[in-house]
Amino acid sequence: MSAFVLLMAVLAAGGGETPVDFDTQVIPVFTKAGCNTGACHGAAVGRGGFKLSLYGGDPAADYRAIVLELKGRRINLAQPDDSLLLLKSTESLEHGGGYLLPDEGAGANRLRRWIAAGAERVQKRRLVSFQVQPKRRVAERVGSIVRFKATARFNDGAVVDATPWTVFTPEDAAAIKIDPETAVATLLRRGRQIVVARYLDRVVPIEIITPLADTAVDLARQPRNNFIDDHVLDLLATLRLPVSPAASHAAFLRRLTLDLTGRLPSLAAQRAYAENTNSGKRQQLINRLLASEEFNEYWTFQLAKLLRIRSQPEDTQGALAYHRWLKRQVSAATPYDQFAREILLASGDTHKVGPANFYRTVGGARKQAEFASELFMGNRLRCANCHNHPLDRWTQDDYHGLAAMFAKLDRGRVIKINPRGKVTHPRTGAAAIPRIPGGEFLDPNQDGREAFATWLTDRNNPYFAKAIVNRLWKALLGRGLVEPTDDLRDTNPATHPALLAALADDFVEHRYDLRHTLRRITSSATYGRSAQALPQNAADDRYYSHALTRPLPAEVLADAISDLTGVAEQYGDQPLGARAVALFDPKIESESLDILGRCARLESCETADGAAGGLTRKLHLFNGPLLNRRIADSSGRLAKLLTAERTPEEIVDAFYRRALSRPPTSPEREFWNRTVAGAGGQKQQQELLEDFLWSLLTCRAFVTNH
């Protein structure tokens, strides 16, 4: 049989049949069989002494490994059937990866035909487009079938059915089952699922939605304050998810004040808001908070975390200069594109030029490239350090090219050009050439930052605006449209792709104004929705049918505790009364902030924050001196209220309003009245009120924004 195949191969080679192309026909065989995955030969160190590029991202390296290395041991040109490549993949020889290719199957025969024709790499064509149908499908019910069809178009004009060589991988294998032979998917679970289709260097996401309920929901009469609500309600209607009603004014006031200023609303602000009868009072509140000094302080803190501003060993001056510069930019409403340019192009003494500290934040040019791409592009270029990014377009040339650009900087206290700076490209062993990610190579003798900054802040840049509006969305809604927020890519699509694009366009149209986008989002009915879930939408954690309850950031919680107890915290050598969100350096000594889980800013701070911390942190919070000392402090708010001979009911009411922006409900009031009334004397009553305050400080309603 094999001889017959060989004969056919020989006949084919001389008979005018198109020779097998290594780059576009052999590589897909390995990808389809899983040979070049990270768990197999695509691992960074290969497997069993044989290394392939991850998912065939580097055909030249693969050809070298398969055909040339070790004196060509893996290919036998004299006896193609004896090629190690075939013997292993068909498990004719013991193979750690098991049986991958049937001996007479299409994959093995393609390899055999290629070897018999000389195992050459002629690079005869290039993939120009890859499409999958359907790209989005709303299926009626669990058990529904979806057939995928992949089409590849090459620059020689060939259009081929690539379905047999396309790998379809569901993000959640328990939700969708896909037959690798037929590319037919069976839906196993309701919800929105993503399937990634991979062919050669292309990856395409496919969205499959199975409504979460059997009956449709009518969302036509839901308020639509701006385009955000249109997008959110459209998807909710498709998913058949009902929405929770609008949040109460009190809940909205607390949520918005915390989001825009990092503070609890004062009693005066609560009164003023409650007494305002204007129908547009929510908009008025948004505008007032966006114009406040507290907003400047809090959003300086938010951006400082993003920029990872922190002091260097034995050097706090740089961080201080950086923080002050940042505060000026926020106060002056500097457009975000200009803000980014000033950072990227900064040079000089870091004690005087605040943004120059950007180049002292991480160590080395490669880390700088990773940081810059995550910060300003929301992209993890770092995945392209060792190999071309398996799930995105980034290549090693992009990664090391951007690093080469930053390598031209001397990053001591004074940031200046170092013409001799370079990074070595691991594939070539030579100095990497500076390059715009995904774009052109730059003159290695020039400072490439200007070109990079111009490309980055171009209004058509596909990453810059999306990266920041996605972060703003997360800051206000509790979850990014893309998660993680530093991992924007086609294969990690947004829950609402059109909404993300619309927000980015709107941001660019309004001159990269952060306040504008914050206003746009907080003005939406989506933002103003209640956090009280309905039975039908309680499981929703990403489609915004109700507001998500979010832990307060450590610094915000620390300030809230100080405000509520009336006892200020001492932060290092800062003046007593300094607010945690105003600290310029996360290294400033504070046991409280450490307990509450502040971000050290050594790495990205874009993970779960504050009160969501572990058991140890909770135990410290509940039982440690952080709360107990301040609850019983003789100069604290409780002591002062008791000294002023306020009634227990008045005290309970006052703390409820300060902590939760609302008075206690009737059952709550009755409970506390009954409990305190049962106290035997003044001392016991004080202890009971201390317990009441402790319970308020540790309750979920206080430590979260909702």
Binding site: S2, A3, G49, K71, R73, R74, L77, L84, S92
Partner: protein, 334 residues
């Protein structure tokens, strides 16, 4: 399982013999079809003891070609699927052919010379034998991709001693006769120095930063520059040629090339190191200054094998697609 594998191997070898005949028939009848197909790479070269011919090894087997016109004189049938190294015994009476079946079995086939009759098969490795070196007229050592080195006596089919120490496949081997030291190197980037008699590991040398492809010892002649401590050259994927004094564990100097060297040989007078590279070049290096004194384009693609003629000063380069080229350093290629 071993029985099944043995049976499978026998069946496959029988099948290959039939297939070779069949392919030959097809090729004869379909010349046009075969004309475009690539030839296997030339992976091993050895000049015959009388220097009048060269033995050429590849996946196509063994071919004896006349020198210097490289005309095919005869083919020698071998049981090895891959031929990775060739070595004549010091007395010229034996030709040892190293290779085997990749990832399955490493073999050495011993031929009498000049008769070319197969007289013994040595089987003891679990992967191809990548390098072989004679340590006397009746003993030799083999290095294998199975990470082991085996010491053999021609009179016994069983290994005398196994040397274990490399963490990955061993690709290179040379022997310092005066010091009775074996030097090995391989994919783990290390050179390891062994006492040939006892098999004791003397030292490891770890200057290479990528895998090592081949080793060659400097010939000892009456010329003063070949006296003193024995010297060996190694070539590796880190694009370096490194010179060593293995007996004292010293790396003397190194040359950095613009392409990875694959094979290395000394000119017979020890005055130059010749290397062939992945760019298909032959480069001549002054061992004292490590300057590249000559660079010649030798073959298209990778130049896997290299041999220096014992007397006429020319070199033979073998490469991809069955390419074979004689080069006279300092002059034009004939």
């Amino acid at each position: 399982m071993p029985f099944v594998r043995c049976q499978q191997k026998f069946t496959r070898q029988l099948f290959h013999v039939l297939k070779r005949l069949f392919v030959g028939y097809v090729c004869l009848n379909l010349l046009a079809a075969c004309a475009g197909a690539a030839e296997p790479p030339i992976t091993a070269l050895a000049f015959t003891p009388d220097a009048g011919a060269v033995v050429v090894g590849s996946q196509a087997g063994l071919v004896v070609r006349s020198w210097p016109d490289l005309q095919q004189q005869r083919k020698i049938a071998t049981q090895l699927v891959n031929v990775l190294d060739l070595a004549f015994s010091p007395n010229g009476k034996f030709l040892a052919v190293a290779g085997g079946h990749p990832a399955e079995e490493g073999l050495v086939e011993l031929f009498d010379w000049p008769g070319g009759e197969s007289i013994q098969i040595y089987s003891g490795h679990r992967d191809s034998v990548a390098a072989i070196v004679w340590t006397s007229n009746s003993t030799f050592a083999t290095a294998s991709l199975d990470r082991e080195i085996i010491l053999w006596e021609t009179t016994s089919k069983k290994p005398v001693r196994r040397l274990r120490g490399h963490s990955r496949g061993v690709t290179a081997l040379c022997y310092l006769a005066n010091e009775q030291l074996l030097i090995s190197a391989g994919i783990d980037r290390n050179l390891r120095v062994w006492e040939a008699a006892s098999g004791k590991l003397v030292r490891s040398l770890n200057n290479h930063t990528k895998e090592v492809h081949q080793l060659a010892t400097r010939p000892r002649t009456s010329a003063p520059h070949t006296s003193g401590l024995a010297m060996a050259a190694s070539v590796g994927d880190d694009r370096t040629v490194r010179l060593w004094q293995p007996s004292i564990g010293r790396m003397v100097r190194f040359a950095q090339l613009d392409a990875a060297p694959l094979a290395v040989a000394w000119l017979p007078d020890g005055s130059r190191i010749a290397v062939t590279t992945t760019a298909g070049d032959l480069q001549l290096i002054d061992p004292d200054t490590v300057e590249i004194v000559q660079k010649i384009s030798a073959v298209e693609g990778w130049a896997y094998s290299l041999a220096a003629h014992p007397t006429d000063g020319s070199l033979l380069v073998g490469g991809q697609n069955g390419q074979l080229r004689r080069i006279i350093p300092g002059g034009a290629s004939p």
